[in-house]
């Protein structure tokens, strides 16, 4: 399984450090933070789908899967046909109006080549953004839940714990 950026909305404080970090790295922020009136904040970037519709419809091969599994992008091959933009269920690929080609998250391929985390993940002060392999992350989450169950038991909390 490839590595991806996972988003834990609960931790996010809408500080937009991820946006600014991405903007400083790529000139334009490819991750965006949406803020709702009730203070829910949702950072959103390319999901690097396992069965990526954008990649499937790209007629020139400008979109491709790189060695780490990211849906990366070769600007030299892009003809600006917008097929990917239409195919993406999340509206991720955006047109770069000046160069008439598409622009999207590539999980910071240059940073990854140097062994660094993607810029947004490097910065995110709350660790709402995590870079990793899905099974590892889920395993972690299971682990922390189970350890909490055990702790509660050890504290002798009166309420019995049911898993529904």
């Amino acid at each position: 399984m490839s590595k991806k950026i996972f988003i834990d909305f609960k931790r996010c404080i809408g500080c937009r450090a991820c946006e600014v970090a991405c903007e400083m790295e790529h000139g334009e922020a490819r991750i965006r933070v949406f803020e709702f009136p009730d203070l829910t904040t949702i950072p959103f970037n390319c999901r690097h789908c396992e069965k990526a519709p954008c990649l499937e419809v790209c007629p020139t091969g400008a979109l491709y899967r790189d060695q780490d599994g990211a849906v990366a992008f070769d600007p030299l091959k892009c003809i600006g046909c917008l097929m990917c933009a239409v195919a993406c269920p999340f509206g991720v690929p955006k047109i770069d109006e000046v160069n008439k080609i598409m622009d999207k998250c590539d999980l910071c391929s240059e940073r990854r080549a140097e062994g660094k985390l993607p810029a947004c993940v490097s910065s995110c002060p709350t660790e709402a953004l995590k870079f990793g392999e899905i099974n590892e992350l889920l395993w972690d989450r299971e682990g922390s839940f189970v350890s909490r169950l055990k702790e509660a038991r050890e504290r002798g909390e009166k309420e019995p714990i049911y898993l529904l």
Partner: protein, 682 residues
């Protein structure tokens, strides 16, 4: 040549480390510092930290010294500018005495810059030396000094994670110190900690709250008194701690007898039941982190509120051990860089009080007589200026035209004196300057910082200053020489200055250039020798006369203004994550100004409806001092009866200068009354 230069973030006081990747002295990008896991940020940065070099390359930077002639600024050489300033200052001293001069230091400059500034003021014979800490932490400074013998933040941030209860008072760390919030507060919540937030606004921090109390601005004191009352009356306090480690419990208990939660409900409109729940959780929930900020400090009754909270910390036993935390976390990165070396009208480096004994000690150390008469505090300097008594001022990296209460009055005062400003940008204050000196910005000089967590660290020069800009300490040394006191300022590097500081301030003796240059994680102040540091304070007692915490009686003090028919709404103000203070730097950072473009007014839907205001309307906000026009944001994130604006856009035209805290000299910056009307566009 590409270099990776280690720096400390120039914005807030968390003290995040990062690298600047610089090519031949020009910043190319930042890189996160994941190499020093013991620094507070562990690599992480907020948006201001990420964008932190953008303003340094702004075309607006001041590059040459300027002298105002016939109302116009002309470029001059450094020699001419310094000669001119020195001559004017000498004239003022001869005609009116040194007390007609004032010096302002800065929480944005280094420890060394500030040390040299206060020393120059004192070498010239005046204690009129202040910085914006007066408008920031002074209330808490007074209160905690009284109760604990020291105002300092007590424990390393790691102890926040170990706390079971977090009380956040008048403070919004999720917005003002995001790294602190994400790396420590949220992790405490992961461990099951409960969080109590006291704030009239539903902030990003309040979103995480288990209990959110929303008092009217300026009535936090009532809530704190009621919590004391409830905890004492119901004997929920930490009996052992109170007996062994505090004095004056009876006096304190007596002083809060009348302040029941029901009384506080009437004053603050926080339901008594919620005050009780919060008090109970704080007293019985386990080890607590208790943090506060400007919502407590910036009031004419701020010291009393801070005092009540210090009492709460003491009687619940949440100090002087591991796993608790208390203190303030200012918005500016280096308040302690100015506070510790005594940039204060009544303190000398240490800081120690300005008294005969200390003045004598420093006279011996420095080789000149330290003036004994206390100087004027920040707001009083400008009052004296308005009255024509303060003839000259040297302003280092401060923007009093926007940062002090009642800006119109400050502008009038600045018109009347000989004003010298050293800064990195033209500001609202430089408009009134007679001489402007171009200073190097944070990444353009090497210097020492003391973060609010008392961590002393070095930040290194990563970028070449633009044009002829120079580090502030160099400017001050040139000026000292021209003023004929150069013999006391024989420094050729920041290390020379730091070595003198090592001798002048015992608690910094061990923070030597060698130690800080080779150990980027720095050390916790006090560090009395090169091997030691003090991550936790008060483990073996308090620096008070008896070694025990001095509980202090408290009482209700009315805020500076309360709503009436003419001005029926409370007005308060807050910070935004993307901006810093008066915006001198952050509004010149393109990634920040794009995302946080303008001021606005938060207003509750009920108030808005009554005034016929809809979301996005332009409204005029008016107080007895002035008015501003902004867009309305209609939202139930603010309680009814209160409106609020981010303070970065000129809010001090509305604040109140003539209600001043009697103990800390803090003006009423956070609770004034106003009326709001819809602006009709012709």
């Amino acid at each position: 040549m590409e270099e990776l230069v280690p720096v400390v973030c120039p914005w807030c006081s968390v003290g995040c480390r990062l690298y600047i990747v610089s090519v031949n002295g020009h910043p190319r990008k930042i890189e996160w510092d994941y190499d020093h896991p013991n620094t507070p940020n562990k690599g992480k940065l907020c948006p201001k930290g990420v964008a932190s070099y953008q303003f340094t390359i702004s075309p607006d930077r001041l590059k040459k010294p300027l002298i105002k002639r016939n109302g116009k600024f002309e470029e001059v050489s450094w020699e001419e500018a310094i000669r001119y300033v020195a001559q004017k200052f000498k004239e003022i001293i001869e005609e009116h005495g040194p007390e007609a001069l004032a010096f302002l230091g800065s929480e944005r400059c280094s420890l060394e810059d500030n040390y040299v500034l206060q020393k120059l003021a004192r070498a010239l014979g005046t204690n009129n030396v202040e910085f914006a800490g007066r408008l920031c932490q002074s209330s808490n400074f007074v209160a905690r000094s009284k109760v604990f013998g020291s105002p300092a933040q007590t424990n390393p941030f790691e102890d926040i994670v170990k706390s079971k209860v977090i009380l956040v008072w008048g403070y919004n760390p999720a917005e003002t110190n995001p790294v602190l919030f994400g790396q420590y507060f949220e992790k405490a919540l992961d461990n099951g900690a409960k969080i109590i937030v006291v704030d009239p606004i539903k902030t990003k921090t309040a979103k995480f709250a288990d209990i959110h109390l929303q008092p009217y601005p300026g009535t936090d004191l009532a809530v704190a008194l009621a919590m004391l009352n409830y905890i004492i009356k119901n004997e929920l306090y930490d009996r052992k701690f109170v007996e062994e480690r505090t004095d004056n419990f009876e006096e304190l208990a007596k002083s809060v007898e009348e302040y029941t939660p029901e009384w506080a409900e009437k004053v603050s409109e926080v339901p008594a039941g919620m005050i009780k729940r919060a008090a109970e959780l704080l007293a019985t929930g386990g080890n607590a982190t208790i943090v506060l900020n400007e919502g407590v400090n910036q009031h004419a009754n701020g010291t009393m509120t801070a005092l009540a909270i210090a009492n709460l910390i003491a009687i619940t036993g949440n100090i002087g051990k591991e796993g608790v935390f208390s203190g303030v976390i200012p918005g500016a990165h280096c308040g302690l860089c100015a506070a510790v070396p005594g940039v204060n009208c009544a303190q000398l480096p240490g800081p120690v009080p300005l008294n005969e004994e200390n003045a004598k000690k420093f006279s011996e150390l420095w080789g000149f007589e330290v003036p004994r008469k206390p100087g004027l505090h920040y707001q009083a300097i400008f009052k004296a200026m308005a009255e024509g008594k303060m003839k000259g001022i040297f302003i280092m990296g401060q923007n009093p035209a926007r940062s002090l209460a009642n800006s119109s009055l400050i502008e009038e005062a600045l018109e009347k004196a000989f004003v010298v400003v050293s800064d990195i940008f033209p500001t609202e204050t430089t408009k009134f300057a007679d001489v402007i000196l171009p200073a190097a910005s944070w990444y353009e000089k090497t210097g020492t910082v003391i973060t609010q967590n008392r961590r002393v660290m070095r930040s290194f020069k990563a970028v070449k200053p633009p044009g002829e800009a120079k580090p502030d300490w160099e400017i001050l040394v040139m000026l000292a020489r021209e003023l004929g006191v150069g013999e006391y300022f024989n420094y050729s590097s920041v290390d020379d200055i730091l070595r003198e500081i090592n001798r002048a301030i015992p608690a910094l003796k061990g923070a030597t250039p060698e130690r800080l240059n080779s150990n980027l994680e720095g050390c916790f102040y006090p560090c009395p020798d090169e091997k030691s540091e003090t991550p936790r304070l008060f483990l073996n007692g308090f620096p008070t006369k008896t070694g025990r915490a001095q509980l202090a009686p408290v009482k209700w003090i009315q805020p500076g203004e309360v709503p009436d028919e003419e001005y029926p709404l409370w007005l308060t103000n807050f910070r935004q994550v993307g901006h810093f203070h008066t915006g001198t730097m952050s509004m010149r950072s393109k990634s920040l100004i794009k995302r946080w473009p303008e001021g606005f007014l938060m207003i509750n839907p009920e108030d808005a409806k009554a005034l016929g205001i809809r979301d996005g309307d332009r409204v005029r906000v008016e107080t007895r001092r002035g008015s501003l026009v902004v867009r309305a944001m209609v939202t139930d994130r603010i309680r009814k009866g209160v409106v609020a604006m981010p303070w970065h856009w000129g809010v001090n035209f509305l604040t109140k200068d003539d209600a001043i805290d009697e103990f800390s000299k803090m003006p009423e910056l956070k609770a004034v009354t106003c009326r709001v009307t819809k602006e009709v566009v012709e």
